[in-house]
């Protein structure tokens, strides 16, 4: 009696988890969505970059690599690359530095979920709302934060200053993201055994030494992912620039070309200048850049290995 009962499930087991016959109803909706809105559009975006597509006429001809050749001599493209790189640099530097500081302070002092919730709040607020709030706070006549900064001798035109606009947007997005980034790092800190710090303290190590010798090395996998996410996100800044520099009669990407980051330029080419082909060529360049950066960053920081293992 016992043998058949035991063998029946085993014989059936291959079918239990089996086959496309069972899987396809589960996969169908997501597969339709993936094909329609991710996979085919990606191929089509690459195809568009080899055409001179006109969105208004909705037609275009194959032009080979002309769009790519024109990029090399396009001063606005190189301007966009420069502006984006400057923004990415500033944003990563300030965001990561503040986030590490906050995460370490929280790790030592409190596990309060109220504080953790509060510092996450800005990350959940729409970029458009954040941009508008800071347009007002940093208004050079009436803004209270602009006023506060002027007490400390900092005078600036913020969003309206050609040299100030990118650091200002980086500052605003640091405000929006540093709490969330700190929570990611905080989660990573929880995986470091406390005994290491106790041993360090017994050996007379200073806070700074423990930070350098214990915290940073063991945090490396988390830091690598945070850097990748921050960098990919920073290259894609759009909403804040569009609203903060395009509001009140301004032109998105202004003043002048000072904040025309790569995303804004891609958008402008497609929808303002009606050159979808050239726009797509830059999007291809952006995609390749992000892939290369991600690959090397994960490789360099050896993200998948932990020194704890």
């Amino acid at each position: 009696m016992a043998a058949p009962v035991a063998s029946a499930p085993r014989g059936k087991k291959l079918n239990l988890y089996g086959g496309w016959k069972a899987a396809w109803p589960f996969l169908l909706p997501s597969f339709i969505g993936f094909m329609l809105f991710f996979f085919i559009p990606t191929l089509r975006g690459i195809y568009l970059s080899f055409t001179d597509w006109n969105l208004l006429a909705n037609r275009g001809d194959f032009v080979g690599v002309e769009n790519y050749e024109r990029l090399v001599d396009d001063p606005l493209f190189w301007n966009a690359v420069r502006v984006s790189a400057w923004y990415v640099f500033l944003n990563i530097l300030s965001q990561t530095a503040f986030a590490i500081l906050i995460a370490v302070a929280m790790d030592r002092l409190t596990k309060s979920s109220i504080i953790r919730s509060i510092i996450m709040l800005p990350y959940l607020i729409p970029n458009v709302v954040v941009a508008l709030i800071f347009l007002w706070l940093l208004n050079s006549n009436l803004g209270i934060i602009a006023d506060l900064f002027s007490w400390f001798g900092i005078e600036s035109n913020y969003f309206a200053g050609p040299n100030a606009v990118i650091p200002t947007i980086a500052g605003v997005n640091t405000w929006r993201h540093m709490g969330y980034t700190a929570l990611l790092i905080f989660a990573g800190l929880q995986t470091i055994p406390k005994s290491l710090y106790e041993a360090g303290a017994l050996d007379g190590a200073s806070e700074w030494q423990m930070m350098k010798r214990i915290t940073i090395p063991l945090l490396r996998p988390v830091l690598a992912l945070v850097l990748v996410i921050t960098m990919i996100g920073s290259f894609q800044v759009f909403d804040t620039v569009q609203v903060a520099t395009g509001g009140f009669g301004g032109r998105p990407g202004g003043p002048g070309d000072a904040s025309r980051v790569i995303y804004v330029y891609i958008y402008e080419l497609a929808f303002v200048r009606n050159e979808a082909g050239r726009s797509s060529a830059i999007a291809v360049v952006l995609l390749l850049t992000l892939m290369v950066i991600t690959f090397f960053q994960l490789k360099l920081l050896r993200a998948n290995e932990s020194d704890l293992a």
């Binding site: 899987a23 002092l109 504080i115 709030i133 007002w136 709490g179 759009f238 509001g247 958008y267």
Partner: protein, 337 residues
Amino acid sequence: MSSALEGMAGGATRSVKARMGRGAAWALLALLVIVTIFPFYWTLRTGLVSNASLFEGNQGKGVIERVLPDDPTAVNFRRVLGQATEAEILEATGRTNSASFNYLTALKNSVIIAGAIAVGQTVFSALAAYAFSRLQFKGRDALFFLYLTGMMIPPIFVLVPNLFLILGDFWFFDFTGESLNWIPGYESDGLFLLGTLPGVIAPFFFMTPFAVFFLRQFFLGINRSLEEAALIDGASHFRIFRSVILPIARPQMITLGILTYITAWNEFLWPLVTVGRFPEKQPLTVALGVFTTQQPGTQPDWSGLMSGTLLAALPVIIIFMIFGKRLVDSIQFSGIK
């Protein structure tokens, strides 16, 4: 001085130093909370006073005196909600017909868009996650990897191609123009889904690679012994999904749903492109963005703008107040979004 005294002094300095360190760290956290909250408070404060008071009240006052609203009024919020009289609008803005956006319409659109996306994406991604975590079929890992590569595609890369889809142009198969006229009741405007809410919802409705990944990770951790017993008893996989997996995974699915809802609520670029020229269909983010570009460069209606801004963020703030802890905990779980 003897070495013993030196030792004691050293110990005392160390503990004073440690206490000062803790004090500094607490001060840092307190400052952080203030820096986080203050912009929201100031937005509220600005919405509660008249424009005139913003312009006059500035001179000769310090930061501290400006912190509390003088002569608070709700008229700006009533203006945004469409409840103010013409006389009140004239008094508040100095214009009889000030540019405005219809808050309640935009709110309704945002609720529909974010709600549909959150429900569709969570349910369909959960189905896919079940297949990827529980079923065995040929090419499973390759397909999952293909889904994951979708995470690397910047949204702007597929912006124009997706706009084509919304216009009914499926590349090799064209729905544009009159090709749909055979459907009863369909009146072709040549625009297909452009300027409609389904057009805004569609690309995010069926899945995102992140949602599938997030749920698969969680499903993998659920013990299989329960389902094996049910499968041997002849239960179908849909039955298992509904009666075994869903009850266990409900908290994670709700968390994902909330995250998806907020992400959809905050989306700007896609709705700008699809409904940016259709005021009746704009979600709050786009309505607010368009409203801003229509403001005059000199003397904009700051108190009206800040009231609208706060009201646009209010639903997210309410969700945050209810579910904040759950969202924070999800970061511990998933590690990374």
